[in-house]
Subunit: 96 residues, 2 copies
């Protein structure tokens, strides 16, 4: 039987995610409440906005960019990036 | 401050979801493990496959239809529908 669905919580429950593994690989699906967050990657991450929007400052970038529903961005492994969440947002993060 | 991120679990932890509310409305984002499930709606549901695939028998339909990543289906309120999950699948369900 495949591994269970692990729920993780970050930033004092402001960000929650469910870990899953399928034919597309290892991912988490989750939600972020309104707030400002700093994330650090250990693997390459493919982030897709599922509902809502994320305003992101990617590594080595000066400008913030907003990603809406259906849009994705990539962060290489061992990088930090900043996220501003202006409405509660659901996302998919696939790891590589 | 907006409501917290409530995590719900169904079918003995085989299905888990995170409830959220944003400009698009009230939704849950979640994951389903491999298995067969019967769902009943109390509101109209807009289901979108975020990762993986769902094989669904919609109300008043005889045939099963498979929805892949990015595809959606709608179930009216107060209806039952059946789902076969052949790989762990992430979804977004928006309620109306």
């Amino acid at each position: 039987m495949s591994k269970g669905l692990t729920v993780n919580s970050y930033f004092e429950d402001q960000v929650k995610s469910i870990a899953l593994e399928n034919q597309e690989g290892v991912s988490t699906v989750g939600a972020m409440m309104v707030g400002d967050y700093e994330f650090a990657t250990s693997k390459k991450e493919y982030m897709t906005v599922v509902s809502g929007e994320l305003t992101v400052k990617l590594p080595r970038e000066n400008d913030w960019k907003t990603f809406s529903k259906g849009e994705s961005f990539i962060v290489e492994a061992n990088q930090a990036f900043s996220v501003q969440v202006k409405q509660t947002t659901a996302y998919l993060c696939r790891y590589e």
